[in-house]
Assembly symmetry: C2
Homo-oligomer: 121 residues x 2
Amino acid sequence: MSIAAAALDVRQASRFFKALGDETRLRIVALLSHGELCVCHFEAALGLSQPNASRQLGVLRSAGLVESRREGSWVYYRLAPQLDELSRQQLQALVAAFSRREVIKQDVERLLATRGPDSCR
Amino acid sequence: MSIAAAALDVRQASRFFKALGDETRLRIVALLSHGELCVCHFEAALGLSQPNASRQLGVLRSAGLVESRREGSWVYYRLAPQLDELSRQQLQALVAAFSRREVIKQDVERLLATRGPDSCR
DNA sequence: TCACGACATTCGAATATTGTTATGTCGGTA
DNA sequence: TACCGACATAACAATATTCGAATGTCGTGA
Protein backbone atom coordinates (compact mmCIF):
# COMPACT_ATOMS: atom_id res chain seq x y z
CA MET A 1 0.00 0.00 0.00
CA SER A 2 1.47 3.29 -1.10
CA ILE A 3 1.91 6.19 1.24
CA ALA A 4 -0.81 8.12 -0.56
CA ALA A 5 -3.20 5.18 -0.38
CA ALA A 6 -2.63 4.71 3.34
CA ALA A 7 -3.42 8.34 3.85
CA LEU A 8 -6.83 7.91 2.41
CA ASP A 9 -8.19 4.84 4.11
CA VAL A 10 -11.58 5.88 5.42
CA ARG A 11 -11.60 3.69 8.50
CA GLN A 12 -8.11 4.78 9.46
CA ALA A 13 -9.02 8.41 8.95
CA SER A 14 -12.10 8.13 11.15
CA ARG A 15 -9.97 6.62 13.93
CA PHE A 16 -7.51 9.46 13.55
CA PHE A 17 -10.21 12.13 13.87
CA LYS A 18 -12.00 10.31 16.65
CA ALA A 19 -8.82 10.29 18.70
CA LEU A 20 -8.55 14.05 18.24
CA GLY A 21 -12.21 14.58 19.12
CA ASP A 22 -11.50 15.16 22.79
CA GLU A 23 -10.18 18.23 24.56
CA THR A 24 -7.77 16.37 26.80
CA ARG A 25 -6.22 14.50 23.92
CA LEU A 26 -5.90 17.68 21.87
CA ARG A 27 -4.04 19.27 24.75
CA ILE A 28 -1.78 16.23 24.99
CA VAL A 29 -0.94 16.54 21.30
CA ALA A 30 -0.22 20.23 21.75
CA LEU A 31 2.18 19.49 24.61
CA LEU A 32 3.92 16.82 22.58
CA SER A 33 4.84 19.38 19.95
CA HIS A 34 7.37 20.56 22.55
CA GLY A 35 9.13 17.22 22.41
CA GLU A 36 9.17 13.87 24.12
CA LEU A 37 7.39 13.69 27.48
CA CYS A 38 6.71 11.01 30.04
CA VAL A 39 3.35 10.28 31.64
CA CYS A 40 4.06 12.21 34.81
CA HIS A 41 4.38 15.42 32.77
CA PHE A 42 0.84 15.09 31.48
CA GLU A 43 -0.44 14.38 34.97
CA ALA A 44 1.17 17.58 36.21
CA ALA A 45 0.51 19.90 33.28
CA LEU A 46 -3.07 18.83 32.60
CA GLY A 47 -4.15 17.83 36.09
CA LEU A 48 -4.96 14.26 35.11
CA SER A 49 -5.05 11.23 37.35
CA GLN A 50 -2.34 8.72 36.57
CA PRO A 51 -4.67 6.07 35.11
CA ASN A 52 -6.49 8.66 33.04
CA ALA A 53 -3.30 10.09 31.59
CA SER A 54 -2.14 6.61 30.73
CA ARG A 55 -5.40 5.71 29.05
CA GLN A 56 -5.69 8.85 26.93
CA LEU A 57 -2.15 8.25 25.75
CA GLY A 58 -3.16 4.71 24.94
CA VAL A 59 -6.03 5.97 22.78
CA LEU A 60 -3.68 8.25 20.88
CA ARG A 61 -1.25 5.38 20.43
CA SER A 62 -3.82 2.94 19.04
CA ALA A 63 -4.90 5.62 16.60
CA GLY A 64 -1.30 5.89 15.44
CA LEU A 65 -0.87 9.45 16.62
CA VAL A 66 1.87 8.88 19.16
CA GLU A 67 4.62 6.39 19.89
CA SER A 68 6.29 5.48 23.16
CA ARG A 69 9.53 4.08 24.47
CA ARG A 70 10.57 2.98 27.89
CA GLU A 71 13.66 4.42 29.59
CA GLY A 72 14.23 3.01 33.02
CA SER A 73 11.11 3.53 35.08
CA TRP A 74 9.68 6.08 32.70
CA VAL A 75 7.77 5.77 29.46
CA TYR A 76 8.33 8.61 27.02
CA TYR A 77 5.72 9.58 24.44
CA ARG A 78 6.27 11.49 21.23
CA LEU A 79 4.24 12.41 18.17
CA ALA A 80 4.46 9.52 15.74
CA PRO A 81 5.92 10.20 12.32
CA GLN A 82 2.64 9.95 10.42
CA LEU A 83 2.39 7.20 7.83
CA ASP A 84 0.45 9.35 5.43
CA GLU A 85 0.69 12.87 4.15
CA LEU A 86 -2.85 13.83 5.17
CA SER A 87 -2.39 12.96 8.83
CA ARG A 88 0.98 14.65 8.90
CA GLN A 89 -0.43 17.89 7.53
CA GLN A 90 -3.47 17.81 9.78
CA LEU A 91 -1.35 17.30 12.88
CA GLN A 92 1.17 19.96 11.94
CA ALA A 93 -1.54 22.54 11.23
CA LEU A 94 -3.28 21.66 14.47
CA VAL A 95 -0.20 22.02 16.62
CA ALA A 96 0.82 25.27 14.98
CA ALA A 97 -2.64 26.71 15.50
CA PHE A 98 -2.94 25.60 19.10
CA SER A 99 0.31 27.09 20.24
CA ARG A 100 -1.42 30.49 20.55
CA ARG A 101 -4.37 29.41 22.68
CA GLU A 102 -4.55 30.54 26.27
CA VAL A 103 -5.47 27.09 27.59
CA ILE A 104 -2.55 25.57 25.75
CA LYS A 105 -0.15 28.31 26.86
CA GLN A 106 -0.99 27.59 30.48
CA ASP A 107 -0.49 23.87 29.90
CA VAL A 108 2.95 24.59 28.51
CA GLU A 109 3.81 26.82 31.46
CA ARG A 110 2.93 24.08 33.90
CA LEU A 111 4.88 21.68 31.73
CA LEU A 112 8.04 23.76 31.78
CA ALA A 113 7.71 24.23 35.54
CA THR A 114 7.84 20.49 36.04
CA ARG A 115 10.48 19.62 33.48
CA GLY A 116 13.63 20.61 35.25
CA PRO A 117 16.51 18.23 36.06
CA ASP A 118 14.40 16.52 38.72
CA SER A 119 11.37 16.39 36.47
CA CYS A 120 9.89 13.07 37.53
CA ARG A 121 10.05 12.72 41.28
CA MET B 1 -12.94 37.11 18.10
CA SER B 2 -10.54 37.14 15.18
CA ILE B 3 -10.56 34.48 12.54
CA ALA B 4 -7.27 33.13 13.75
CA ALA B 5 -8.47 33.02 17.33
CA ALA B 6 -11.65 31.18 16.42
CA ALA B 7 -9.57 28.61 14.62
CA LEU B 8 -7.73 27.78 17.75
CA ASP B 9 -10.45 27.32 20.31
CA VAL B 10 -9.79 23.95 21.86
CA ARG B 11 -13.41 23.04 22.56
CA GLN B 12 -14.50 24.03 19.08
CA ALA B 13 -11.66 22.05 17.55
CA SER B 14 -12.56 18.94 19.52
CA ARG B 15 -16.15 19.19 18.27
CA PHE B 16 -14.88 19.55 14.74
CA PHE B 17 -12.72 16.44 14.98
CA LYS B 18 -15.34 14.47 16.84
CA ALA B 19 -17.82 15.08 14.03
CA LEU B 20 -15.28 13.75 11.56
CA GLY B 21 -14.51 10.74 13.73
CA ASP B 22 -17.07 8.52 12.03
CA GLU B 23 -16.92 6.71 8.69
CA THR B 24 -20.40 7.64 7.58
CA ARG B 25 -19.88 11.31 8.26
CA LEU B 26 -16.53 11.27 6.48
CA ARG B 27 -18.25 9.78 3.43
CA ILE B 28 -20.93 12.46 3.62
CA VAL B 29 -18.28 15.17 3.63
CA ALA B 30 -16.59 13.52 0.65
CA LEU B 31 -19.85 13.49 -1.30
CA LEU B 32 -20.50 17.12 -0.46
CA SER B 33 -17.28 18.11 -2.18
CA HIS B 34 -19.25 17.41 -5.38
CA GLY B 35 -21.70 20.14 -4.52
CA GLU B 36 -24.99 20.68 -2.81
CA LEU B 37 -27.06 17.55 -2.12
CA CYS B 38 -30.39 16.80 -0.48
CA VAL B 39 -30.98 14.13 2.15
CA CYS B 40 -32.37 11.57 -0.29
CA HIS B 41 -29.01 11.54 -2.12
CA PHE B 42 -27.20 10.40 0.99
CA GLU B 43 -29.80 7.75 1.64
CA ALA B 44 -29.29 6.36 -1.87
CA ALA B 45 -25.51 6.75 -2.22
CA LEU B 46 -24.57 5.55 1.27
CA GLY B 47 -27.42 3.13 1.93
CA LEU B 48 -28.60 5.00 5.01
CA SER B 49 -32.05 4.95 6.54
CA GLN B 50 -33.81 8.29 6.31
CA PRO B 51 -33.62 9.06 10.03
CA ASN B 52 -29.98 8.09 10.14
CA ALA B 53 -29.04 10.26 7.18
CA SER B 54 -30.88 13.17 8.74
CA ARG B 55 -29.21 12.65 12.09
CA GLN B 56 -25.66 12.41 10.76
CA LEU B 57 -26.20 15.58 8.79
CA GLY B 58 -27.45 17.18 11.97
CA VAL B 59 -24.25 16.24 13.77
CA LEU B 60 -22.16 17.79 11.00
CA ARG B 61 -24.29 20.91 11.11
CA SER B 62 -23.99 21.43 14.87
CA ALA B 63 -20.24 21.06 14.51
CA GLY B 64 -20.29 23.82 11.92
CA LEU B 65 -19.13 21.61 9.08
CA VAL B 66 -22.16 21.90 6.86
CA GLU B 67 -25.03 24.28 6.22
CA SER B 68 -28.49 23.63 4.85
CA ARG B 69 -31.27 25.43 3.03
CA ARG B 70 -34.80 24.36 2.21
CA GLU B 71 -36.10 24.43 -1.33
CA GLY B 72 -39.68 23.25 -1.61
CA SER B 73 -39.94 19.83 -0.07
CA TRP B 74 -36.20 19.27 -0.13
CA VAL B 75 -33.41 20.34 2.18
CA TYR B 76 -30.06 20.86 0.50
CA TYR B 77 -26.80 20.50 2.39
CA ARG B 78 -23.43 21.94 1.47
CA LEU B 79 -20.01 22.25 3.07
CA ALA B 80 -20.01 25.32 5.27
CA PRO B 81 -17.49 28.05 4.53
CA GLN B 82 -15.28 27.41 7.56
CA LEU B 83 -14.92 30.24 10.04
CA ASP B 84 -11.29 29.54 10.66
CA GLU B 85 -8.28 28.81 8.56
CA LEU B 86 -7.41 25.58 10.35
CA SER B 87 -10.79 23.94 9.75
CA ARG B 88 -10.80 25.11 6.17
CA GLN B 89 -7.42 23.57 5.46
CA GLN B 90 -8.24 20.34 7.26
CA LEU B 91 -11.46 19.90 5.32
CA GLN B 92 -9.90 20.72 1.99
CA ALA B 93 -7.02 18.29 2.51
CA LEU B 94 -9.44 15.62 3.66
CA VAL B 95 -11.71 15.91 0.68
CA ALA B 96 -8.82 16.01 -1.77
CA ALA B 97 -7.31 12.91 -0.24
CA PHE B 98 -10.54 10.96 -0.09
CA SER B 99 -11.44 11.47 -3.72
CA ARG B 100 -9.10 8.61 -4.66
CA ARG B 101 -10.45 5.99 -2.27
CA GLU B 102 -12.37 3.04 -3.64
CA VAL B 103 -15.14 3.31 -1.07
CA ILE B 104 -15.58 6.97 -1.87
CA LYS B 105 -15.45 6.39 -5.61
CA GLN B 106 -18.30 3.92 -5.33
CA ASP B 107 -20.27 6.37 -3.22
CA VAL B 108 -19.85 8.98 -5.92
CA GLU B 109 -20.93 6.54 -8.63
CA ARG B 110 -24.12 5.78 -6.76
CA LEU B 111 -24.57 9.48 -6.22
CA LEU B 112 -24.30 10.34 -9.90
CA ALA B 113 -26.67 7.51 -10.77
CA THR B 114 -29.36 9.07 -8.61
CA ARG B 115 -28.78 12.69 -9.44
CA GLY B 116 -30.47 13.01 -12.80
CA PRO B 117 -33.34 15.37 -13.59
CA ASP B 118 -35.72 13.20 -11.55
CA SER B 119 -33.26 12.91 -8.72
CA CYS B 120 -35.62 12.91 -5.76
CA ARG B 121 -38.62 10.72 -6.49
C1' DT C 1 -59.44 21.24 3.89
C1' DC C 2 -57.07 16.79 3.19
C1' DA C 3 -53.45 13.66 1.75
C1' DC C 4 -48.81 12.89 0.47
C1' DG C 5 -43.73 13.23 0.31
C1' DA C 6 -39.37 14.85 2.36
C1' DC C 7 -37.29 15.55 6.27
C1' DA C 8 -36.70 16.09 11.52
C1' DT C 9 -37.30 14.46 16.06
C1' DT C 10 -38.35 11.29 19.78
C1' DC C 11 -37.97 7.02 22.08
C1' DG C 12 -35.71 2.89 23.62
C1' DA C 13 -32.27 -0.85 23.51
C1' DA C 14 -27.63 -1.95 22.50
C1' DT C 15 -23.11 -0.48 22.64
C1' DA C 16 -19.16 2.53 23.50
C1' DT C 17 -16.69 5.92 26.14
C1' DT C 18 -15.54 8.13 30.38
C1' DG C 19 -13.14 8.60 35.02
C1' DT C 20 -12.17 6.54 39.48
C1' DT C 21 -10.52 2.82 42.55
C1' DA C 22 -8.05 -1.18 42.94
C1' DT C 23 -4.65 -4.15 41.29
C1' DG C 24 -0.97 -5.87 38.18
C1' DT C 25 3.58 -5.36 35.77
C1' DC C 26 8.16 -3.96 35.13
C1' DG C 27 12.77 -1.56 36.26
C1' DG C 28 15.66 -0.03 39.55
C1' DT C 29 17.75 -0.53 44.02
C1' DA C 30 18.96 -2.30 48.49
C1' DT D 1 15.30 -11.80 47.57
C1' DA D 2 12.20 -7.79 48.81
C1' DC D 3 10.63 -3.20 48.19
C1' DC D 4 9.50 1.08 45.75
C1' DG D 5 8.20 4.18 42.00
C1' DA D 6 6.27 4.73 37.29
C1' DC D 7 3.14 3.12 34.50
C1' DA D 8 -0.57 -0.15 32.58
C1' DT D 9 -4.69 -2.63 33.07
C1' DA D 10 -9.12 -4.36 35.22
C1' DA D 11 -13.44 -3.55 37.14
C1' DC D 12 -17.09 -0.72 37.93
C1' DA D 13 -20.70 3.01 37.57
C1' DA D 14 -22.02 7.03 35.09
C1' DT D 15 -22.64 9.01 30.85
C1' DA D 16 -22.75 9.38 25.87
C1' DT D 17 -23.37 7.59 21.29
C1' DT D 18 -25.50 4.58 18.06
C1' DC D 19 -29.42 2.94 15.07
C1' DG D 20 -34.14 1.57 13.95
C1' DA D 21 -39.02 2.20 14.66
C1' DA D 22 -42.49 5.31 15.45
C1' DT D 23 -44.09 9.82 15.26
C1' DG D 24 -44.06 14.85 14.31
C1' DT D 25 -43.42 18.94 11.15
C1' DC D 26 -43.64 21.43 7.01
C1' DG D 27 -44.44 22.45 2.21
C1' DT D 28 -46.95 21.00 -1.93
C1' DG D 29 -50.86 19.96 -4.61
C1' DA D 30 -55.53 18.24 -5.09
